[in-house]
Symmetry: C2
Subunit: 302 residues, 2 copies
């Protein structure tokens, strides 16, 4: 780990602006053979703002191994599509039934349930099609592309987001043990965040040890991220949060805060942050951005 | 094209039994880190029967270029997962709202809407994860795997099933022209069927011309298949069909039959069948199975 001379915030904003610009280009690229209403629904959610944390993680991890953003961006945008798709489905009436996301009406409120389900499905498929198509035209070895895509698929599937969402929303799947919020957060949040850094590293040419270290880092970062999310759900207003606060308590969800309280959860989040930063130490290359990111995310207020 | 000595039915059954056996093995493989209720919901729909047409198409197309079923089966099962996932979502209350599929209760009737949405999502992700993971351990060149997966992703996304489903279910996307049923069927049905044969061919090592010819064949086969489906929806009983008949008329769908009538639709289906068989003629290798399949499917009664 070395320390960057430029401030973390400047580096994060720079990558975020790059992602945002490329997302806008992509939205204009989604061509006419797709039905107009489907395109509108997909693009509405994809360009509805957000921190763009996941694609930034992917770009920056590939960068550690010398890969330029121009090459890794399709993979990074694949992760943003997966994330957006999962949010659209999470917000559905049959799931969390939420009307507000990133300060805007949720997809199904605007486009109806049927189109929201299909926009989520289409974004999931496009998350694979777009990187597979774009990267095949680059000089990235196909073996790396396959492995990066496998990691992406794993983060969405039964062992990732979908599995976590079942634990989080299905009454019959809930457990009473104190490790349950860890189980849910590991799948619902941490697997995707870990997949962003791991697949970015793989794409960039990391060896197995470095890719594993990035995955470990990402898993700890993801847990810390979810803990702070649970804290903010209790302590923030809708305006600060851009989504409906107090939802967890209303829905009787077993969160870190409901199980451990605010203070203990804050301590847990700092603990995960420290573990994540420790995992970075084995990686050769400049991982200062990731250490700063961890410290920054644990202090975030929205 | 050459003529197989064994009957088409025997060849189709043989491949179908292979697919069925591997699907059962796969169901037992879906490991414990996925929540139990999610596994049950995914496996329920995946093993609920059906003709297994799509994986058979993929296996048999790869076979034309000398690839054994043992190598191509993960890709073939990926297509069955995509197909099953799309059926689970199609049947949802917000979409076609159907309670019967393949003679059994639909997924959401048994597991609830939330779990049905997530089982569909998880099957879509697993359709990528499983082939990417299994094929990376084979000696299939990674470039072929990437291209086959890109074709799979394309068949599900905004230009494929999801696009077709929007045209089919979204009132604002409906058009009055006589080409509308062709547009819907091309995306909703034909793209996936074409993707099965094209990606099987690519995986097996077909050159670009042969892969294109297989895609053309698949597109015509898919259109014929949807035309016969529309006919059977009018002429069959629930027992014969294994799903609710007469649905199209109830839902005021613009089908081939509602636009062209039964006789004209039968003629159109035979026309597409002939075009499909013509496309096979440019392919070097034994494509007799596919010609027989086309002729068989246009005469099917369920």
């Amino acid at each position: 780990m070395t320390q960057n001379t430029r401030s973390f915030q400047a580096l994060f904003s720079e990558a975020g602006e790059f992602v945002e610009a490329r997302l806008q280009e992509l939205a204009e690229m989604l061509p006419v053979p797709a039905p107009r209403r489907l395109r509108e629904s997909m693009i509405y959610s994809l360009t509805a703002g957000g921190k763009r944390l996941r694609p930034i993680l992917c770009l920056k991890a590939a960068e550690v191994f010398g890969m330029s953003w121009d090459v890794s961006i399709p993979m990074a945008l694949g992760f943003e599509m997966i994330h957006t798709a999962s949010l659209i489905h999470d917000d559905l009436p049959a799931m969390d039934n939420d009307v507000l996301r990133r300060g805007k009406a949720t997809n199904h409120v605007l486009f109806g349930e049927s189109l929201a389900i299909l926009a989520g499905d289409a974004l999931m498929a496009w998350a694979f099609e777009y990187p597979l198509s774009a990267l095949s035209k680059s000089n990235v070895p196909a073996e790396r592309i396959c492995e990066a895509m496998r990691i992406l698929a794993n983060s969405l599937g039964p062992f990732g987001i979908c599995g976590g969402q079942v634990l989080d929303t299905d009454p019959e799947s809930m457990e009473t043990g104190s490790d349950f919020p860890f189980k849910v957060a590991a799948r619902k949040t941490a697997v995707l965040i870990a997949a962003c850094v791991e697949s970015g590293a793989v794409l960039g040419g990391a060896d197995q040890a470095a890719a594993n270290a990035f995955r470990t880092y990402g898993n700890h970062l993801g847990l810390a991220f979810q803990m702070v999310d649970d804290i903010l759900d209790v302590t923030s207003s809708a305006e600060e949060l851009g989504k409906t606060p107090g939802k967890d308590a209303t829905q009787n969800k077993k969160t870190f805060v409901s199980l451990f309280g605010l203070e203990e959860t804050r301590w847990l989040a700092h603990n995960e942050t420290e573990k994540g930063i420790n995992a970075l130490r084995t990686i050769e290359g400049d991982t200062g951005f990731f250490a700063a990111l961890s410290e920054n995310l644990v202090e975030r207020t929205r």
